[in-house]
């Protein structure tokens, strides 16, 4: 019976956690921080989308993806393509040899817009593509793997290879993608200048609300029967088949969902930071995102967000003073998490802090009636 109580207690704790995060990112930080720092936090929050997705696919289902940068990047690129086209109006680009196409295409001797760029002139199309393109990529990748029952470390390696492939592709085809510099100099969205402080503040709040929405979405999935099937798959994948479930389609679904959530983060990144480049697609950022999630606690939606914010805060303040040491610190942190507290900060909190608090509370509650005669046992 006590276990059931703990589960419901954890559910309540999680709700309180989401509430506290909402308070922090919607009230405390905007009041406390200047525009520059707030924009920085906004950037961190976009990584938190990826971490929330990783809680679903890695923490609960046991699918480790070392290629979430693919989906973050694809979402970000879809957004950037729209913004770039809007910034490349004929009026803005009249000094180019071919006016009306993005500047990097002109530098690469392209004379017309490539066909796959054309639909990105439309904002509704771009917004749909932000979700649809990464989800489709995730579907093809995961369907091919999971139907063949490729999993575990092999899947992780393949996702990593895909992250490398996509980076090489983007860098190599710079006339179509902007190359290593990425897609830069983004200005307006439907005429609304996204570079002003006011716009950045609005985008920050949009990002924060979306993140909270994604946390509730993840919570909904995890508290449904599907959530329990995910745990069952992590536990004993083979057995789940004999309970009558098509394990592959469940895994494909959760991987696509995680990727779609990451992609929303990528799009918000592009909007807030004002560019997208292959350095957010490849292996290193993908692994960093796994570390954010691991530090925060891969089985906790709240933990993943907290972990992302903390690690990025540490990264920013640490690398301002000791830039060359940061990577070592990060590596050390990851090893420490894996060895010492595999359930991350969230695990430390529920295993150590909460029992301590309960003890303190019962001691205090016990102390008050102590003044009156203790009830006979």
């Amino acid at each position: 019976m006590s276990t059931a109580n703990t589960t419901t207690k954890n559910r309540h704790l999680e709700l309180i956690g989401i509430g506290l995060i909402a308070l922090l990112i919607l009230v405390v930080l905007p009041v406390w921080l200047d525009a520059f720092r707030l924009n920085l936090v906004g950037k961190y929050l976009t990584y938190a989308f990826v971490a929330v997705g990783l809680v679903l696919c890695w923490g609960y289902t046991g699918i480790l993806s070392l290629g979430q940068g693919i989906f973050f990047g694809l979402g970000g690129y879809c957004m950037a393509m729209f913004l770039k086209l809007e910034a490349s109006s004929v009026a803005n680009t009249k000094i180019q040899s071919t006016p009306g196409i993005p500047d990097f295409m002109d530098w690469n001797q392209l004379t017309h817009l490539p066909f796959f760029w054309v639909p990105f002139k439309s904002l509704p199309f771009a917004l749909i593509a932000v979700i649809a393109v990464p989800s489709l990529a995730a579907f093809i990748l995961s369907y091919a793997m999971f139907k063949r029952r490729v999993g575990g470390v092999y899947f992780a390696i393949i996702t990593q290879a895909f992250a490398a492939v996509l980076t090489i592709l983007i860098i190599g085809r710079q006339g179509y993608t902007g190359g290593i510099n990425g897609i830069t100099d983004l200005r307006t969205m439907w005429g609304w200048d996204i570079r002003t402080d006011g716009a950045k503040e609005i985008l920050y709040f949009a990002c924060a609300f979306l993140l909270i929405g994604m946390m509730f979405l993840a919570r909904f999935v995890l508290s449904s029967k599907l959530g329990r099937i995910l745990v069952a798959i992590r536990d004993k994948e083979d057995r789940v088949r004999f309970s009558g479930y098509d394990v592959a389609s469940v895994k494909v679904f959760i991987f696509c969902l995680a990727s779609a959530i990451a992609a929303v983060g990528g799009a918000m990144f592009t909007l807030q930071v004002g560019f997208m480049s292959p350095s957010f697609v490849g292996i290193v950022p993908s692994i960093e995102m796994v570390i954010f999630c691991a530090v925060g606690g891969r089985q906790s939606v709240v933990g993943a967000v907290v972990g992302t914010l903390l690690v990025n805060y540490a990264k920013t303040s640490f690398s301002e003073s000791f830039p060359e040491l940061w990577l070592f610190a990060m590596g050390g942190l990851f090893i420490a998490v894996v060895l010492a507290f595999p359930r991350g900060i969230a695990g430390l909190f529920t295993d150590q802090v909460v029992p301590l608090f309960m003890k303190w509370k019962s001691a205090r509650d016990g102390a008050t009636p102590d003044a009156t005669p203790a009830p006979a046992e």
Binding site: M1, A4, R228, A232, D246
Partner: protein
């Protein structure tokens, strides 16, 4: 001899080879509706492999497996489960991180696709059914406990319960009393005797006492082939069987 449509399950000429080694060799096995069949045989006789073949875990190299007169070779595991075949594994195979209730609920034969599971509604009908099964498998008091904390015998019962709630036409049990204490064995035999009603059951078992207590018909496997088939007394009297198995 009845024609093939009367059998619930019919294996004909089934062969499976692993790198040339024929674990099951040209096997014929017929299970009637409502029959309880015990499969015995020395180690390596291919008993577990036969169950693996029926439930789709191992692919048949040659031959045909028909369930309710439909070919089931080539179907995936979950499709075979949906046809009505349930399987209990040798080691207790339950979901440690879930509670007894959740283990049973997952096995309830509804909402088995992604969206069915996502928008699953825990109705009173399901709760009642889960509680009913929990009582049958002696786990009512542990219903909200994490399955990991159960004893070995209780885990075996839970797995039997997970099969029961699936309500299969054919139930396959791989050593259901292995590692159980004497009192647990007695309870398990009672449990099996109640659940075999209205369905066919195939049991693999080593424990001869237990086999005697439940068996209707016994099939002896040896080196991937049927060595003998019949009731318990006939089997025990069979000189071939004595030679390879019982006499040891």
């Amino acid at each position: 001899m009845a024609n093939s449509t009367d059998f619930l399950l019919a294996l004909e000429g089934v062969t499976v080879s692993f790198d040339g080694f024929k674990a099951v060799n040209d096997l014929n096995l017929y299970i009637d509706k409502g029959e309880l069949r015990v499969i015995i045989g020395p180690n390596g006789a291919g008993k577990t492999t036969v169950l693996d073949l029926i439930c789709g875990r191992t692919r048949v190299s040659n031959g045909s497996i028909k369930f309710q007169d439909h070919e089931i070779t080539g179907l995936t595991e979950h499709e075979i489960v949906k046809r009505g075949i349930g399987r209990k594994f040798q080691t207790p195979s339950i979901y440690d991180d879930l509670s007894v209730f959740e283990n049973l609920e997952i096995s309830f034969p509804r909402g088995r696709n992604v969206f069915g599971a996502l928008f699953w509604n825990r109705t009173s009908e399901i709760i009642e059914r889960v509680q009913e099964i929990a009582e049958m498998i002696y786990l009512s008091d542990q219903i909200n406990q994490r399955a990991e904390t159960l004893s070995h015998g209780q885990k075996q019962w839970l797995e039997i319960g997970m099969l029961l709630i699936q309500d299969p036409e054919l139930l396959m049990l791989d050593e259901p009393v292995a590692g159980m204490s004497v009192s647990e064995r007695v309870k398990t035999a009672a449990l099996l005797n109640t659940i075999i009603k209205n369905r066919s059951v195939v049991v693999i078992e080593h424990d001869m006492k237990f086999v005697e207590s439940i068996a209707h018909r016994v099939t002896v496997l040896h080196q991937g082939k049927v060595l003998a088939e019949g009731d318990m007394e006939a089997i025990q009297a069979d000189p071939h069987v004595k030679e390879v198995y019982l006499g040891h």
